[in-house]
Subunit: 134 residues, 2 copies
DNA sequence: GTCCTTGCAAAGCTTTTGCATCGCT
DNA sequence: AGCGATGCAAAAGCTTTGCAAGGAC
């Protein structure tokens, strides 16, 4: 449990209650918007201001603790950075988010960039899908 | 030149001056935000309200005339739909947008979705790149 | 003439910021 | 104690909407 404190201190951030709670919620629930986290914390009887959540998420992003995604719903969603990179698949019927990783695609992307004289700094790939007829 | 009128009528939209002008600007300048188009039209001495541009772009999107992209700059950018699908590469140093298409990646994406019991409805792939050291 | 479109202003949403208070270390 | 962090409320984008006036067919 003091693991999260270490994580925060390593990033130069004081281990405050709001920050720890936000990390915990992200850990257990995955892909959330600032508002989602806000509501989640209210359910847990933790009174954290929405502004604080935005500030903390921005700091976490700079520290490399979370990634911010701009899927297309008019708001950003955040997730904890895991060891291995992955991309996302969003079901347009259920809104559920699935993760996947494909080395062949990653390699092609690097080649494509290189062919034009670039190197990849980051990338973003989202597949919008729906269940196949059964 | 009456080509744009036909295009609009086919979509069930009256061929009004604002709509024609917006199409022309998108045709010549590529990837633009609503604000970009607004400024561009002012330069051309065409007085079109920003709200109209948003409304027209939304209609164009529904009609399949333009695509809306949510890159990550806090605003959407639009481009005319071309015959062949393509993805984007954004240079983080210059902000320039490059287009590319890769059949191998497209196939992998379809396979990945299928393996999980889904079919792809749409997808979004953006590579953020920078120039290789020369 | 009818119905769709437009422009302006106002409202809506997500996100950011100012400032006094509070809380880690 | 000191300085960073928080909360509230206000402000700042981008985008949407209501409504009266204007334009296409």
């Amino acid at each position: 449990m003091p693991k999260k404190n270490k994580e925060l201190q390593k990033a130069g951030l004081k281990a405050t209650l709001p920050r720890i709670k936000i990390l915990e919620v992200l850990d257990s629930k995955g892909h959330l918007s600032a508002e989602d986290i806000y509501k989640e914390l209210i359910l847990l009887d933790e009174d954290v201001g929405l502004a604080t959540i935005y500030r903390v998420l921005t700091q976490f992003e700079s520290a490399g603790i979370v990634i911010k995604h701009n899927f297309e719903e008019g708001h950003a969603v955040y997730e904890i950075v895991s060891d291995e990179h992955h991309d996302h698949m969003v079901c347009i019927e259920t809104g559920k988010i699935y993760e996947f990783h494909d080395e062949i695609i990653e390699q092609r992307q690097a080649e494509i960039a290189k062919k034009q004289g670039f190197e990849i700094v980051d990338h973003n790939m989202v597949l919008y899908v729906k269940k196949l007829e059964s």
